[in-house]
């Protein structure tokens, strides 16, 4: 098997883009958005790209464009202020505007999600006999005030986990598709019995870094398919994984997702 060619790539587009990463870094470092220390941000931004690369995540072109923009700002910042024309604005200004503009729409999206939604909080008379199924036995009651965890936070947690273990260092991990599919099946298996799993528990059986990476990619894939969600009770609380569909959902059945995933793979030669 030519495993170098058959490397697994996770498409990030459904997760987040470069602006999300920047906002994440700004929040993480508790930076004043109107006075971004560009050197720190450039370095950290690059570090994340590096992690993504080493995980074999597909880095969208937009991330690279942003990296170039950041370097450009950085070099402009190095110019002595006096040599710059009087009227010239802060090289960071345009980026700050974009970030705020984007964040504003993220807030607006939050507003939408907080509204009562049809079929979830509010029902109207549009059901026919068919869509009523009688009373269901199983009743779920938990309503945890958990925050959904984004990709970068997951990457952080994963990096921390890697750091905390003395594992063999592998510079670039080549991940076989087969293994990711296996891990997906294993995670689903666990989630059929338990609705929640600790993030760290996913990796408890892993012996090598490669194994951990494969598990992590499997998790990302499951999040992408909206089968599981990553949650956190607070900023520093441990991350847990929650099943986002009922245990008897067809997505939870052995083989269903994994066949879907390999199907997607075979269509794939990106770029």
């Amino acid at each position: 098997m030519l495993e170098t060619r058959e490397s697994w790539r996770v498409q990030l587009e459904i997760f987040e883009g470069p602006l999300d990463l920047l906002l994440f870094l700004i929040r993480k470092n508790e930076i004043d958005i109107y006075d971004i220390p560009i050197n720190i941000i450039v370095d950290q931004y690059q570090q994340y790209l590096e992690i993504m690369r080493s995980l074999n995540l597909e880095i969208a072109g937009e991330f690279l464009v942003m990296a170039a923009t950041l370097s450009q700002i950085k070099s402009k910042m190095l110019l002595p202020r006096s040599e710059v024309e009087e009227e010239e604005e802060d090289p960071r200004a345009e980026l700050v505007d974009r970030l705020l503009e984007y964040q504003r729409f993220k807030e607006a999206a939050g507003e939408l999600i907080s509204r009562a939604q049809l079929g979830r909080e509010v029902f109207v008379r549009e059901f026919d006999e068919e869509s009523l199924k009688g009373l269901v036995g199983e009743v779920k009651r938990e309503r945890l005030e958990f925050e959904e965890v984004d990709l970068f936070k997951l990457m952080d947690a994963f990096q921390a986990l890697l750091d905390s273990r003395s594992l063999q260092e592998i510079k670039r991990v080549v991940v076989e598709r087969v293994k990711v599919v296996d891990r997906i099946a294993a995670i689903l298996e666990k989630l059929r019995e338990n609705e929640f799993l600790e993030f760290t528990a996913l990796f408890s059986g892993s012996r090598s870094k490669a194994e951990m990476v494969v598990t992590f990619l499997a998790l990302l894939e499951l999040i992408r398919l909206q089968v599981v969600k990553a949650f956190q009770a607070g900023n520093f609380a441990p991350i847990s994984i929650k099943r986002a569909v009922p245990a008897d959902d067809q997505k939870m059945k052995p083989g269903y997702l994994t066949s879907l995933v390999s199907e997607k793979e075979s269509q794939g030669g990106e770029e």
């Binding site: 587009e13 999206a109 049809l118 008379r125």
Partner: protein, 215 residues
């Protein structure tokens, strides 16, 4: 016709209607009755439902009136319903918010705000019927322009696009969220509305567009 009779007819109409019923439609059905009288009956009916603590209320949604269940009962009602609610991903919601506020808007304009390609999410939103192609922009390439639909209003239980908070309202929250804790102390989530007049004021052209929405 007596007020009570009109009310009971309206109640029946709302019961059988599968979608929000506009005042105009009700007026059409109740041919011969004065619009003013019908409106008054409707207002009374709305109030009665609320005052009597029923399991239903009459909501103003997408330019019409609709009987809907109470939010507080959702947990129980969901047990009877087989269809699973639509769950939009974060990128889909962001894109939807951008389209709602910036419509009519091209994909490229959405991409520019999000900093990533949005064709995938736009396809999903089209599929759900939350947005529609409302025309083409008169620029080279004549790209499609998108707008939100009546279904969008129905899904998020909005009376009209103007029912969405002004975009300016999100600015303080955005600054705060982006880490600027010095200027804005913690008052983000607890403060849902700061008075509608104020918030709409500095919002020229930014707020949700016209009352009407694409269909």
């Amino acid at each position: 016709m007596e007020r009570n009779r009109i009310k009971s007819i309206i109640e029946g109409l709302l019961f059988i209607s599968g979608e929000p019923l506009s005042l105009e439609r009700i007026v059409q059905v109740l041919e011969g009755e004065e619009k003013k009288e019908i409106r008054a009956a409707l207002t009374e009916l709305v109030r009665e439902y609320e005052e009597q603590g029923r399991g239903l209320r009459i909501a103003e949604v997408a330019g019409g009136y609709q009987l809907e269940t109470l939010k507080d009962n959702a947990e129980f009602l969901a047990r009877l319903v087989k269809t699973r609610p639509i769950r939009l991903s974060k990128p889909s919601l962001e894109t939807l918010a951008i389209i709602a506020y910036r419509q009519p808007v091209t994909r490229l304009e959405v991409d520019q705000i999000r900093g990533v390609d949005s064709s995938g999410v736009i396809a999903t939103l089209l599929e759900y019927g939350f947005i529609a192609i409302v025309g083409r922009k008169d620029v080279p390439g004549r790209p499609f322009i998108y707008g939100t639909t009546k279904r969008f209003l129905e899904f998020f239980r909005l009376k009209s696009l103007a029912d969405l908070p002004g975009l300016d309202e999100f600015m303080a929250r955005a600054e705060e969220q982006a880490g600027d804790q010095n200027l804005f102390t913690d008052r983000s989530r607890e403060q849902p509305e700061a008075g509608p007049e104020e918030t709409k004021a500095g919002d020229q052209g930014q707020g949700p567009g016209s009352e009407g929405s694409a269909d």
